[in-house]
Structure formats: structure tokens, C-alpha cells
Symmetry: C2
Subunit: 401 residues, 2 copies
């Protein structure tokens, strides 16, 4: 059968050496004695490499990356609005094509072992659905090589730019997956109005919600209160992600625990990529210890917002470890779960992991332990997507994307 | 002459393509028209590679790295004392040989383009000078291939472990370069006593001082006040480094500016490697804007304190950019100066840089711009130490160390 594969001598986290049998793109057996699905099945000799489930980039902006283009000096002012305005101007000036840009990032992500992406699609009254349509085309072009979820995202504001909501509605009707929102107080200046509109749109399209929340301290916590209320009333349990959630690093311990309790109750997940800077950020270990589900992503990769992020979730796990000062192996192993199975669960992908029944999205890495692989994040030895070998030694195979 | 070299077609930061002529280990000419020192001088064709001055690791602990040893699970408790005690036990249990350990790190650092290291040498009443003697041997063995400064460092405490100060005195007499100290309040519990002893030892040996200061907020600022007083009274201007200086991230703006003014007046430099964690850290851009000199280093590399740091100052510059949220090219270029010429000046190395008269410590990197090189930190194309090519494509040449 196509997409049958037999992988020998690889080491999953927390287990000895195994073979992995893949039938029709899904894992059919895992174990030291697992045998090939049938005689003549193509084989990959693992050579004692580590094996990870495919990495999940649950928060990025692939429509705007400058990867593969000439270096641009980054000279943007410090505020959020500086960056939003600068980006709109740059996209226009460079006439960035969201299809071309997103294909570039998808290729590099896949070569680094990312097998699913949740991307935000900027929708505003200037570009209208142009960028979104480029992403739709990318989703079509990548086919089974990358799971791609598209979030309708009002980066430039929604209520403050009338017409945006109707465009988001149109995008949802045309096939976007998730309804996005942004800083209900500080961008739209009308938190109840912003969130009511977002939740109504999600209800109309029976869609999940993913809200960028950069607002600091008690302001962000207030917006989060409003999200929690609506999640509860609308019955949207397990369907809301709060991205960034910087406020969770900026409120006192009692307030944090009160919020966390409700996040757990309503299964609202937090996306953090462990940003830099001198303001407090969410403490991943603390959130996990309180039972909050956490996913991660690379955020914008070399784009108008800055050049620091890379399309590599194994490097992201390293950044998360460093930024959160997590040095213990068990803590870093939890980060590995976050960038693989954890993020897959949060964004609602099918069964993901190294077990029978899961889709055969797998990444082989040469290192001594999984934690060492995080720290060194060397080029991936092999990437398997849906049972098909798509990359070796850090590069896509010929003919892949 | 030995250590003559002619490097063609390389790009220094902020300049067009140049050639670099090297005579007897020092740069004799730089420019688009620079010619070989004489006919037959060995040549390196740069191929439009970027060129950096050698990287300076101004703060590390090469006597204790676990690099090159089997992976050890890191399972240490959260406090400073947990880590200090764990380390002493581990060094004993594994019978770590400081000469062997330090040679391992020096090799890897040099392959990554580090051409000078200031290392701390743990001195305590248990090991006495055993580790220090291993480092002395390393300094001898590396000869001209790595500038190595050794700081006598009372990691386990000085006054609380009587006999330590005498051992430090003996190490200084045997050839250590710099007098170290640590957290005068929280480790030794007698800040005036600790600092008086450190400064007296420095005075006796006419040596510079480098003090680890992890103490947070106003406690650390108080210790810093005491350091400032002694630096002024003793006339030790330009001879004191405060390593970590976490307190500079944890005091209010007016207190910070008051301290910074005195740091500038007395030319006390700050070493920061931009640590992770959820506590505030020194803001590199703010310190530089106030005129404070800043140097950097990798701190402990894969050792009993944790596995996250690597022996690579180009990656360190990336971490510093990420941790300080510096995304602008000009800000990242300032970090490049810090890990090269800035750190060289702070630790008192001879003229360092890409200019006539400087020692020919140079690193070639393939990337589009110097900032991109920071972000990608690819294997170094070539490393030149004192006019001699010592590494290519990330690996030391045969016969080098």
C-alpha cells in the first residue's frame, strides 16, 4: 500500500529501542518485536536515532514571513502599534504574496519536523481577503504534507476598522478553521463588544476561538475574565485558546490561581512561545502544575515584527526551557510533550503520538537523549509525514513541496 | 614568517569587502586594496564570508563542564545552595579532572571562534587547589591558541569555610589572574568582611576583581553599594567586574540610575549572559544607554548547574537578543560588539578588533549579514587565532589541541 513504511531501531522518549510499523499512513505497531506490515514494505533504518512525534507549531503567522528574501534591516519603534502599522506598510511596499510567503515557511517547517501548523491570517479592510486566499491556496497545495489550520485574525483591530468583522465572517464561510481575536481592551477599546462579536462569529460557524492577549497585568486579567464568562455561558469548553496571555505573568499569586482554576474548569488552553523582554511572562511549569493545558508555536518567523524566531519547534522547546529556566530533564521532557502531543490535543488534531492508531507523523533525530536533542536541535535525520519520508538531514527530499 | 596570513574577500561589520594582511600574528593592513605581506604568504580565500573579531567568553566555568561525557539526568533542587552542594558531590563522585574537563571546553569554544576565555576556578577547603592546578596545566597546554584568564573563585563560600581565603591567596601567588568573590550577604553572611578580604587580596597581588552577585533587588544593590565604596577608596577604577548583577533588574528606576552613574564613574563593568527565569535581569540596552560597560560569557556549560548553555558566543549573542527582546539590527550589532571588542576591553585583553595593530584573532562566518549570523549561528567557516588557521567548518584542524 502507499504510505506503508517500516522504521527500525529508533528510541521513543521513555522507552527502549523499537521498530515502528506504518500501514496506510498510520502507525500499526510499535515495539522491539514489531515487524514490517508486509514483505517488501519500504524501510527506514533508524540506527538508534531518537524518534519524536511530529512537532506542532500551534501559533505562527506564515503569511508574512520574510524567509528566503534578502535581509531587511529591522528598525521599528517599540510599541505594539508601531509594529502593526510598520507591518501593513511593509507588506504593501514589498507587495508580499501570502501564498509564496507561506509556502516558504511551510517548506522550512516541514524540513525541521513540523507536521501541523495553526497559522493566523491577517484580515483587514485594506487587504481584505487577499492574504487569506493565498493561505487557502497554500493549504490546498500542501495537501497531506502539512496539516494547516487557518485562524481569521483582525491584527489591525476589528471594531475600530469597520468592515473587518464582515470580512472575517466571509473568510470563515470560505473555509477558515478558527475565529481569532486580539487585545479586546487595548486594540479595539471595547472589550465586551469585541468578545461578543468574536464569540457570536464562532457560534455561527461552529468554530474554535484563538485570541491574542498581550495586555499586561490586571488589564489582561480583566479581558481574560470576560473570555472566561463567555466561554462558560456559550458552552465553549475546550474550544478556546488564549495566545501569549502575558497577564498570567503579571498578576499576584492569588489572582493567578483564581484564573488558572477557571481555565482548567473550562479547558481554556494557553499558548506561549516564551517571549523575551523584561516584563513577566507566563510560567509554563507553574501553569502545568495547576493543570492548565499549554501549547506552543514559533509566532512570527523572521517578519516585520523581528528576525529572532525560527521555523523550528525543537529550537522553540530549547527557547522555552531557557526562558523559563527549566534545566531538569523531567521539566524539559514536559516541554517536549507540549510541542508535540500537547499542542496537537489543544488544537484538536487527530490522535498524535508514537502509538498504534496514531497518524505516522514522526521525526528522527541523532542525539543521546531527547533532552539533549532539544538543547542541540541538530538538523533532523528524517521527517516522516503520514507514513511518507519527506525530509532527510535537514532538507526536504526532491519533489516534496 | 610564521603566523603570517593573507585573508581575501571578507566583510567586516559596517564595511564593504576587504582583504586582511597578517604579519607575525597581528593585523598589518585591512582594506579593499590590502595586499599579501609578502609573496608566498599562506592565503585564506574568504569568498565574501563575514568576518568577526574573535569571540570573548568573559565568564565561564571550564573546570566543571560535562561536555563529552555521557548524558547525566539533571534533577537538582531549585535553590542556589542545592546547586552548590550538588555540584561538590558530583565533582567528587565522578572524580572530575579539571584539566581534562577544561581542555574539552576550550577545544569546543575555539572551534566556535572563541579566542579568549575568563574562567572561574572553584577553590574550596575540600578540593583545595586541585582544580586550580588542572586549569594552570590547561593554560600551559593551550599556549597561544587560547587566551585564558583564571579567577580564584570561592563558590562554596569564603568566610563560612575558613581556610578558603588562604587557598585563594596561594592560587594568586601561583599565577591566577583575577580575584573572585560571591554574594557577600547571602553566601558569606558578612558582606563587609567578605569584600574587605577580596579587595585586600586584590591589592596584595595587584589584581583585578570579578564578583558573582546573584542577590536580588535591594539586597544585591546594597552589596553593590559596598563594592562601589571599596572600588572608590582603593582606587580600583576600571578593575572590577560585577557578574550577573541580577539586582540591576530588580530595583526601581531611580535607584538603578543612581547605581549606574557610579558604575560609569568608577568604570565598574557588568557581566550578563542574559539568564532565563521569571525574575528580572539587567537590561543590556538600558545599561549601555547609561554608559555602563557590559561584557558577556556563557557561564557554566553543560555542567552540574544545568545543560542549557553552549560553548558558543555567537549563540550567546542570539540568547542575549532574545532574552532582552532586542530585534533591531542596531541593537543586535551592539551585542556583537559586546561579545567581541567590548568583552575584550573589559577583561583587559590587548587591542582586539579588525584593524591594523590588533592581534589576528578572527572568525569567518557564512551568512548575509552579521545580524543574520547571530540568529543562525551556523558552524564557523574558519577560525584564525594569532594569524594561524585553527578551525574550519566548525571543527578544529588536525593537530590543534
Amino acid at each position: 500500500m502507499p504510505n506503508d513504511l517500516f522504521i527500525t531501531n529508533v528510541r521513543p522518549m521513555g522507552s527502549g529501542t523499537v521498530n515502528i510499523a506504518i500501514t496506510d499512513g498510520a502507525i500499526s505497531a510499535v515495539g522491539p518485536d514489531a515487524t514490517a506490515p508486509e514483505a517488501g514494505t519500504p524501510a527506514v533504518e533508524g540506527g538508534e536515532a531518537l524518534v519524536f512525534p511530529g512537532f506542532i507549531d500551534a501559533h505562527t503567522h506564515i503569511d508574512k514571513t520574510l524567509l528566503g528574501m534578502p535581509w531587511r534591516r529591522h528598525e521599528v519603534g517599540p510599541t505594539l502599534m508601531d509594529k502593526i502599522v510598520n507591518e501593513r506598510e511593509l507588506v504593501k511596499r514589498l507587495d508580499l504574496d501570502s501564498h509564496e510567503r507561506s509556502m516558504e515557511q511551510v517548506r522550512r517547517s516541514l524540513a525541521n519536523g513540523t507536521t501541523a501548523i495553526r497559522t493566523f491570517s491577517d484580515i483587514n479592510t485594506e487587504w481584505k481577503l487577499k492574504g487569506f486566499h493565498g493561505l487557502l491556496k497554500t493549504r490546498e497545495d500542501v495537501g497531506g504534507l502539512m496539516d494547516l489550520q487557518i485562524v481569521t485574525f483582525p491584527q489591525s483591530g476589528m471594531l475600530i476598522r469597520p468592515g473587518t468583522l464582515a470580512l472575517m465572517d466571509a473568510a470563515m464561510a470560505e473555509g477558515a478553521d478558527v475565529v481569532g481575536g486580539i487585545d479586546p481592551c487595548s486594540v479595539d477599546r471595547d472589550p465586551a463588544g469585541h468578545l461578543d462579536a468574536i464569540f457570536a462569529l464562532a457560534d455561527k460557524h461552529d468554530a474554535d476561538i484563538d485570541i491574542h492577549l498581550h495586555e499586561p497585568g490586571e488589564l489582561g486579567a480583566f479581558s481574560l475574565d470576560l473570555v472566561i464568562e463567555r466561554t462558560r455561558v456559550m458552552g465553549w469548553r475546550g474550544r478556546v485558546v488564549i495566545s501569549h496571555a502575558l497577564c498570567l505573568g503579571g498578576v499576584d499569586d492569588m489572582r493567578l490561581r483564581g484564573l488558572a482554576e477557571q481555565l482548567v474548569e473550562l479547558d481554556i488552553a494557553i499558548m506561549t512561545h516564551a517571549p523575551g523582554g523584561h516584563r513577566a511572562i507566563p510560567d509554563v511549569k507553574l501553569l502545568r502544575s495547576l493543570g492548565v493545558r499549554v501549547c506552543s508555536g514559533n509566532d512570527g518567523v523572521r517578519d516585520a515584527w523581528g528576525p529572532l524566531n525560527k521555523p523550528d519547534m525543537l529550537q522553540r522547546a530549547y527557547i522555552m526551557a531557557y526562558r523559563n529556566n527549566l534545566r531538569r530533564d523531567d521539566d524539559i521532557e514536559e516541554l517536549i510533550r507540549i510541542v508535540t502531543t500537547g499542542s496537537a490535543e489543544v488544537i484538536g488534531l487527530p490522535k498524535h503520538g508514537i502509538e498504534a492508531g496514531a497518524r505516522a507523523d514522526l521525526v528522527l533525530v541523532d542525539a543521546e537523549t531527547h533532552v539533549e536533542a532539544v538543547i542541540e536541535h541538530p538538523p533532523r535525520k528524517a521527517v516522516i509525514k503520514g507514513g511518507r519520508v519527506v525530509a532527510r538531514d535537514g532538507a526536504l527530499l526532491d519533489g516534496i513541496l
